[in-house]
Amino acid sequence: MIDTFLSLSNVNKSFSGVQALSHVDFTVKKGEVHCLVGENGSGKSTLIKIIAGIVQPDSGCEILINDRPFRKLTAIDSMNEGIQVIYQDLSLFPNLTIAENISINQYLEENKKIIKKKDIDRIANDTICIVGAELDTSILVGELPIAKQQLVAICRAITRGEKLIIMDEPTSSLGKKDIDYLFSVVRNLKEKGISVLFVGHKLNEVFEIADRVTILRDGKKVGTYSVDELDNERLIELMTGKKIKTSKYVKSSADTGVLLEAINLTKKGQFKDVCFELRAGEIIGLIGLVGSGRTELALSIFGLNIPDSGEILVKGERQQINSVQEAMELGIGYVPEDRLTQGLFMEHSIRKNMIVTLLNSLLNKIFLLDKNKINIVNTTWIRELGIKTPSPDLVVKQLSGGNQQRVVLSKWLERNPHILILDGPTIGIDVGAKEEIHAIMKNLAKNGIGIVMISDEVSEVVHHSHRILLMKEGQITDEFEAANITESELLKRLVEK
């Protein structure tokens, strides 16, 4: 009986001179749940791709699967050895039935030509049974909610009696309930002797599901630990390489009154009796798990999700915000969570992206766009926010995550908002750029803007806001002064039921 399923040693990989992985050793035991964590750019995805055989490591690497050495691991080898990757986008066919989605891989691998209904139903039902789910196999996958689609993806991954399933950030689009269900499925797989490699960066999930944790930082392995050896602070320290900064953000004195007040905001099925106030020059950290209703709440203040009842007061006056236009006229700005799809035109230049929300104010006497005015806007914000680009004509797609986020910010800042709602402002941005975005936020607050920062990162809200609102299942359950709470305390409050 061999204990180790997969073992990689001395993995190196560089992409055009950039060292993505250096001297990484990695093992997965049979029937364990192994978490691979690290910040963005730490090399997690490169490592997965090497295991899946999609990317070839640089020479000198040794790969053993079930004690069998592979000089060169191809995608086919990897699949034949029982390794399957479930990508973040799930790669399902929305227009085919559950049965077809689950069984199609097997058909392709065995090079069968004719489909037998009985056969695909049998394959599908067998695997659904192993996973321990309940699904009607004749339904089209496109009609399922995302959590169920994930189950289908898992079922598809294990049709051939797989040994290792790699899940790439499987929880990022799921709510709390669905995450719990997913975890129960993962435990079920583990009991059947299947190893699961779980890639993620949400620490609370690591502690909930993992047996062992491997931490990567800047392409190097920091270490592999049994989950009992770690606690939250230790793990953060290992991931970031820094002792957690104890410096808290101190409020500036420019506190001139309440900008925004929400009274008993309620929307059925999303949030209930939400009350809070936002003062000028203040940063509020709104923290909650996915599915807690935090984004829905933010959208309702921005006129995109009209609440059923409750009041919104802007500068003391009661307002009914029914549309984005009304919200913008009241001086409210909103930077969405997924800036790539909701906030930017990726194929267009920085110049065009910056001015898109303020075209009307840039017209000249004959109602054409005034080039000079546009240039002033561009140069001002590129300088103010420190956007690193050779020219405003660069296509936004080519910018780094942090710079993209700055372009989004500039669009809103140019309108002089009093209230700014930032939904996950640093998601998908590397550590250095994160700090710069935080500095920009603090600078804005100093100038009297009130900011609501929505985040699911404990350290972000503790260190970069004045007050913290904790949201759970559609309600604000707690409020803390950021100065009076530690990260671990907040994390405990966040995950406890």
Binding site: D89, L92, F93, E100, I115, E143
Partner: protein, 331 residues
């Protein structure tokens, strides 16, 4: 199961067709008669064959607008050759479909290797195929079509004579169209290749990851529509008895209209053969009924346009309703 039938686009389209025929029949008594219905079945079979091809391409996520050009050229070359040498109908079908497949492969090559959007590729090749024929052969009309071509369209699988002495029957042309429909349906439903066409139309990236041979599927799709264009062109000669360089070209928009009306999605992955045939039927219902109601044929496109917008509009509206219903967060 019953519920899914009631929810399907095909069911709505069928109800629409029944309602439409009842209204037309109340105005012109000669619409819902066996004679007229079998006549529609016969004359619509050419468009039916083309629509099946166009549907398959749309299902795979592309669009082919070169099929009328392919049909026209295949038809001309085949008849020109067979006019000089002795031949038979089987040879005619075989030759025309071979030419069709060749042209289809050219499309597939361009689509696959140059990664040009399919609309652009086929817009270009359509122009080239048709233009080449017009410039090489100055007057591409053929009036001396061999006799065995006409025989085919006059034959019936079964027929009877009604009280007024008119022969009514199930034409060999309709039979050809239905055979092709069933064959295509079997391919789509019961082969990995057919499911692959649905798969690449539904999620191309996932299809690549799952290990579908995308090149093979695309070659099949484009040569299949070429093949069907060849078949349709011979059906056409057999019915109208002369080769005309422009008549078939005019069918493009009607065919695309029929496929869309039948529930296919322009983005790929959705639709059925049954829906496509119902779409063709609906287009012919409109054309035929306007004639019977003595409405000038300029009205054809207007009525067809209205039916397309209303029927696909209802469908789109229903699917948005379904979507919002599904995303409500469970409290």
């Amino acid at each position: 199961m019953r519920k899914t039938i009631l929810r399907s686009h095909e069911f709505y389209l069928f109800v629409l067709m029944v309602a439409y025929s009842i209204i037309v029949h109340s105005i012109s008594r000669s619409f819902l008669t066996a004679e007229n219905m079998f006549d529609i079945l016969k004359s619509s079979s050419i468009m039916g064959v083309m629509a099946i091809g166009a549907f398959i391409v749309m299902l795979s996520g592309g669009i082919d607008i070169s099929f009328p050009a392919i049909a026209t050229v295949s038809m001309y070359v085949t008849v020109r050759i067979l006019e000089r040498f002795s031949g038979n109908l089987f040879l005619a079908f075989a030759m025309a479909s071979m030419f069709g497949i060749m042209f289809g492969c050219v499309n597939a090559l361009l689509v696959h290797y140059f990664k040009i959007p399919t609309l652009i590729v086929t817009l270009g090749t359509s122009s080239i195929f048709h233009g080449a024929m017009l410039s090489i052969v100055k007057i591409p009309h053929i009036y001396t079509v061999p006799g065995y071509f006409f025989e085919f369209s006059k034959k019936y699988i079964f027929s009877w004579v009604n009280s007024e002495g008119v022969t009514i029957g199930f034409s060999t042309m309709t039979f050809t169209m239905l055979t092709i429909a069933i064959m295509t349906w079997l391919i789509l439903q019961y082969t990995v290749l057919g499911r692959g066409i649905y798969a690449i139309g539904g999620n191309l990236e996932a299809a690549k990851r799952a290990g579908f041979n995308i090149v093979k599927i695309q070659f099949f799709v484009y040569s299949y529509i070429g093949f069907l264009s060849g078949i349709a062109s011979i059906l056409y000669v057999s019915l109208v008895r002369h080769v005309h360089p422009f008549n078939l070209m005019g069918m493009l928009l009607d065919v695309i209209a029929a496929v869309v009306l039948g529930g296919a999605s322009l983005t790929g992955g959705l639709g059925t053969i049954l829906g496509t045939l119902l779409g063709v039927g609906m287009i012919y219902f409109i054309k035929n009924s306007l004639v019977l109601m003595k409405i000038p044929s300029y009205w054809d496109p207007i009525v067809i346009g209205l039916v397309i917008i209303v029927s696909t509009g209802i469908n789109a509206y229903r699917s948005t309703l379904g979507k919002t219903g599904a995303t409500i967060i469970e409290a």
